[in-house]
Every structure is written in structure tokens, then in C-alpha cells.
Assembly symmetry: C2
Homo-oligomer: 444 residues x 2
Amino acid sequence: MTAKKKASKKKVSKKKATAKSSAKKAAPKNAFYAQSGGVTAVINASACGVIEEARKHKGKIGKIYAGRNGIIGALTEDLIDTSKESAKAIAALRHTPSGAFGSCRFKLKSLEQNKREYERLIEVFAAHNIGYFFYNGGGDSADTCYKVSQLSKEMGYPIQAIHVPKTVDNDLPITDNCPGFGSVAKYIAVSTREASFDVASMAKTSTKVFIVEVMGRHAGWIAAAGGLASTKDTPIPIVILFPEVQFDQPKFLAKVNDLVKKHGYCSVVVSEGVKWPDGRFLAESGIKDAFGHSQLGGAATVIANMISSELKLKNHWAVADYLQRAARHVASKTDVDMAYAMGKAAVKYALKGHNSIMPTVVRKSNKPFKWEVGMADLSKVANVEKMMPANFITKDGFGITEACRTYMEPLIKGEDYPPYKDGMPQYVRLKNIGVPKKLKKFDL
Amino acid sequence: MTAKKKASKKKVSKKKATAKSSAKKAAPKNAFYAQSGGVTAVINASACGVIEEARKHKGKIGKIYAGRNGIIGALTEDLIDTSKESAKAIAALRHTPSGAFGSCRFKLKSLEQNKREYERLIEVFAAHNIGYFFYNGGGDSADTCYKVSQLSKEMGYPIQAIHVPKTVDNDLPITDNCPGFGSVAKYIAVSTREASFDVASMAKTSTKVFIVEVMGRHAGWIAAAGGLASTKDTPIPIVILFPEVQFDQPKFLAKVNDLVKKHGYCSVVVSEGVKWPDGRFLAESGIKDAFGHSQLGGAATVIANMISSELKLKNHWAVADYLQRAARHVASKTDVDMAYAMGKAAVKYALKGHNSIMPTVVRKSNKPFKWEVGMADLSKVANVEKMMPANFITKDGFGITEACRTYMEPLIKGEDYPPYKDGMPQYVRLKNIGVPKKLKKFDL
């Protein structure tokens, strides 16, 4: 997708003024928070940041209602009253993976295409005195949030819509990185290192190539994280297959063969988004999701069969799938901190009167790694997909460069273990008590 | 495989006497240690136990030579001098997954079938003054170790062969459990819980079933561990497919459908060893390994396709493969402690003059969990495969019973994190310096 810039800075300033005046009223507006798109190990840390910060400002923000299953909760008036949750339960969101209020894959159409949905949103917001809209998601969700942010201007309903960045795909623009990515990157780096140690032990008489398939439909951010498994202290022969690089089977097989000859073994990290020269995914299933994206899976099998039949090398393959994005047990502390900070910042920006923005991570220095919270105009975020810089991939197309390491290493730094009981991580399940409905049923 | 009991207690006693007298000699015998079969997250903790304990008894045990790639290192006189490794490096083995000296899949034939190999072993042991043989592996390796333990009796070479139990499959008899299993069980339990939280968040508009394929060719121990993801505090709808239970497609699909109707989602843990009613594996690849076992993979895909086509339920699937057995980052402390204790005990038993035995874990009580080190006669271990007790599987064939939980929960208890640097676990790589060869080359 390419950028569609629909709003000028001038219009945004006008809305800020409207929002500020509404924030001054005696009865504080309630807030709506929802989670959208694929969930992550740390999206609940952002929820925690939003709710903990909002609870500090009871005079300015009333209740925090969460949408049950994202924007669907708003459309169907299925709201969760987070004030029924204890401070302890909300704090536990910080170490709980997944989306505690339920997420959704549902993209609002444009106002021209489906005015009915926007009218319904306003109806629900008005019925529940909602003046703040916090939407926690990736690129598609930023688009939904942007559309909501235009309700003041387009339909006269005063709302401040703030997008809280989240996506393992790391493809949101402007922000240095997206909360959720650091933890999936750490999981893939750690797992690739561990499995590579394993295959190295087995290579003499058994498995010589280990293949792991990772997420990343259009951008190779997650695949690149596999490269972090290999460091100067602990070098590992790894071949990365990026969606950015057209798959060249003979070149790939030659590379694997060379590494196995030299080191006795190698590991392959293959992105689900890798394509054949004709543009088809390596393992296209033909099924599409609600956003019209092809549902993928099976690139590892294709690679494994190729290595077996062409190189006659014994191999093993894994598909990390949800395990990678849910792996809170090995989350990056940096990532958890950023996710929490984004949630907190969203509320602070709202209280300052902002609308149609997204808090961002601004990198100040690499060594030592320093970052601070910044702000992006949502019109510049929605529908813009950040690709990996070309200089992050080595010339042969199979590895990561020092520039990539410099960018990525700080993001996986630090451990932030959940509490355990009897050997199992203690993840919270909220009560998720519904807010009494005031309106008629709405059919999606 | 069934038990083949070849040695009587009487004969074992005779060998003990021989060993004792040789241990009294002035020049202490050297020890041989090797790793065999599929490696685990904690097999190196056993190596650590063997080496640290042996180093304490320099007057009785000389050098500890490790076989490079298991028994192959002995046959090819490819020995590693572990005395070249620092105490710090050996200590780091305790938190390093994989086999630090290389493992192998190589099964000694019987003495009748291949006398040449046994003569070679004796030649190598004699050339390097080796009197202790510690072999760290599973069922097939116990058989190799048993055969070596008979060299004194069969070929007159004085050797004490002690098997150190290790296998993620948990299928060695007599011992309460096998080091390696507790950690893979913890990984599967934690990962299944995390991915189940994920799919629960997505279920309203997207994925409703999550499938994870786990190891366990003949026994459902690892699949059963998936059941630990669900507890009284945190119930999760999980369907387990055990190799012990003949796969009944209509019954399985009805179960999944019921759970999704009731809970909105469910998770499926499928063992790689699940079979169709005709005895074929759900996803047989046709490839066999060095032991003649079929190489498996892809049961998850079969289940996923079935759920898509028959139930029309959107699903996601993962194949954990090596990630599960290499996952030292989430190892069970109980498992690490046991693995280390088994290594230590092997040396202590050797110093007491034992031959042809295996240290075991003896469970003394469940609540509180107490265990101690015991000893098994190797003739009773080799080629015996411990299956899951029938009362560990629920009547419907899809879950685990309280008896299974009582057995399994203590094994995943406790965390034992490796040290991290810059976000990555610091696993040791030994120098693995070879011992100068004294003999002619031997062709395998």
C-alpha cells in the first residue's frame, strides 16, 4: 500500500481547538480503548499504560470503556467497563500477552462508502459520553483510527482519536519501531540461536539444516531478527530469505550447500512472505483474510522439500506462527517499556487536546541506546507501510548488515519475565464486565 | 520394542568386583563421556555434572575425554580433552542447550553382528587408559551403553559403563522421568497457553483454532504437556491428539466444533506420532533415519486442512520441532537440577565400582514434591520403551487426567534462566581440543 495523505496540518489544528474546549467541560468525557489486528506479546502493556495513566486523571477522563473485540465493540455497543478491574489486574496486563479485551480484523470503509457505520459510532459515543478514542493497532488500524479522528470535522461530533502503535510487523512509518516487534525479534533471535546449537550437535550423523518460518507478509523485519542469533561472540551460519529479495532457488541452494560444507550445518530463516520470481508466495494457500490479505503458511515445508530433494541434506523445519508473537515469556524489556510508554503517552497527548495523532518512539542515540516519546500526525501514518531499508540486507541477499544490527539490537535488549506459579506464567484474565446497553441492536 | 534381559544380577556382581580392583591401581583410569541421540535443553547440564564431579576425584579418575559426536568419537579415536576447558566454561554447560561435544545417531550392532566395532572400542579405550564409560542418551543409547558394559565379560576388557538418562521423549523405564522432558514439557505448556490467549483474542473475527504439532514418535508424553497449559485458575479449551489413541476424524472434528461453539475458540496439540486407523502416521514423509525410524513432520498441516475444509473454521498452525527441545531460555529448574544430578550420580556410582547401571530419578512424594537419586540395572533399561499409563488420558481420548497432572506438574516447576548479554542468552561453546591420536584410522 502507498501513502494517502488526506488531511492538512491546518485542519488538524482546528480540531485541536475544538477538543480543548470540550475537555474544559465540568462532566469529564469517558474514553474508549480498543485493540485491533493481530495481537502481540506486549499490546496489553499498552492497554496497561492507557488505563493506569487515565485513572490518574479522574477529573478529566471519566470511565475507560474498552471495546470488546476492537472497533466491533464500538459498533455493537459492546463496551467493557474497565473500572470494574482492580489496580492489580490492570498492572498484570503489563506481563500478559494477547489482547485482553479481544481484538478484531475489521476495517472501516470510507465515509462515502458506509456512512451508516460512522453514524452508529457517533450514536454509541454520544450515548456513553465518549470523547476520547484510543485505538491500539498496526497499519490497517491506524487507518480506522484516522477515519474516526475525522468525525469532528466530517460529522460534527467532538472526538479525540489517538492511535497507539502496535505491530509485530514493525511496518508503521515515522516511529523508530513498533511495540510488539522487539519481543517477536527477541523470540526469533533466541529460538534461532537455540535451534542452531541443536542442529550443530546433530550434524555429524543426522540433521544438517534447520529451517524456521517466521511472520512478515510484506517486510522482512522479523526474518532479519533471525540474523541476531549470530554475533561476533557466537557466530552461526544462517541464511535469511527476505520477502524483499526475489527468491533465487539455485543461488539459495548453492549458499546452503556451501555453508554445510564449511560448517557442517546451517540454519535457514524464511519469511512467510517470500515469493517466487513470478510473484506468487512460496506457499500460497489461496485463502484470504477479512482485509483481503492472502493467508500464508508452509514456506518452510517448500524449503525443506527443496533441500531434501536437490541437496539430499537431512533437515528439520519449524513454523513459529502464533508462538512467536505470543511469547511473552521471553519478551524484550525494551519492547515492554516502549509499549507501556506509548499507552501512557496517548493519554497525555489526549489531555493536551490532541486529535488524529500517534505517539512514536524517537531514537536519540544508539550507544548508549536512548529514546524518547514523540508524536506523528495520523494522516501521515494511515496506509503507509514502512519497508526495511535496502542497506539492512547484505549484497548477496541472504543476511543482515551492521546497519541492521545497530538498529535492531537495542530493541531486543533486556528481559522482563512474567511471574510464575507452579511452573507456569501467570497471565491475567480480566472480568470484562459489560456496560449496560442503551441503544438498539446494530447489525454489522 | 520389548525388553531383552541378557544379564543376571550374579554376573553384574562379578564385574563390580573386577572394576573395584582396577580402581585401586596407582594410575587412575581416564573417563570417556559422550552424548547420543536427539539433544535437549539440559543434556549439557548432565555433562556439567559428570565433569564437575569427576574433577573432584583426580586421584581416582584421570582425564575426562569426551567423544566428538557420541560413540563415533570413540570408534574413530576422535576424543576431546575436557581438561583444556576452564571451570567457568564447564559451569556454563549447565545453562547451555544442545550437545556441547556433538551427538550422533549411531547404534552399535550386536557383538555377533559386528565384532570389529567392539574390538576397536577396546583398542581405543586401552590406548587412552579409559576405564569409565559414561553415555548420555535415551533408549537406543542405553542399548549401546549396555553393550559396552558387557565388554568386560564378553571380551575381557575392564570397563565400567554407566548410562546417563536423557530424552525429551520421557520413555526410559524405571526412572520417574527423563531429564530433558521437564523442559520440553514446560516449553509446550507455556507456548500452548500463550498461543491460546492469542487465538482467544482473535476468535471473534479471525482465527478460531490454533494447532501446534509437538514431538513424541511413539508416546504422548510431550503432547500431554500441552494439557498443562490449562489449569483451574486459567482454563483453556484444548484438544490433545495422542499417538496412543487411534485417530478418529469425525469424533475429533465434532470435539473441535463443540469447543469453538462453547468458547469461541480452541487449541489443538497434535503429536507427530498420531496415526490413521490403518496405522500410517498422519503425515508420513517416507524418509527414515539411521535407526530406521520414520522421519515425521506435517501432522499440523493435515489437521489444519481438515478443520478448514470440514468445519470451515479459520485456523493457524505451528510446528515446534527443534525449538521445543532446544528452548533452554524457558527450561524447568526441576529438570535442570535432575539433569545435573544424574551426571554427578553417574560418577559417584562409578567410583563405587558399579557397571552396567543407570542413575534414576526416584519420586518420594508429590506434595511437596520430593525426589532422590536411584539406580537401575541397565539390562532392564536397554530397549524398553515406557509408554504413558492408560489412566493419564481422559476417557474421550482428547485430554489429560488428574493423575497425569499430579505426575507432570512438578517436572515443569521452577525457572532457571540463562545469563543474557545485549538481549541474547549467553550459551557456551567449548574449545573442544582433540586428544592426539595414537592409532590407525578406522573406517565406520
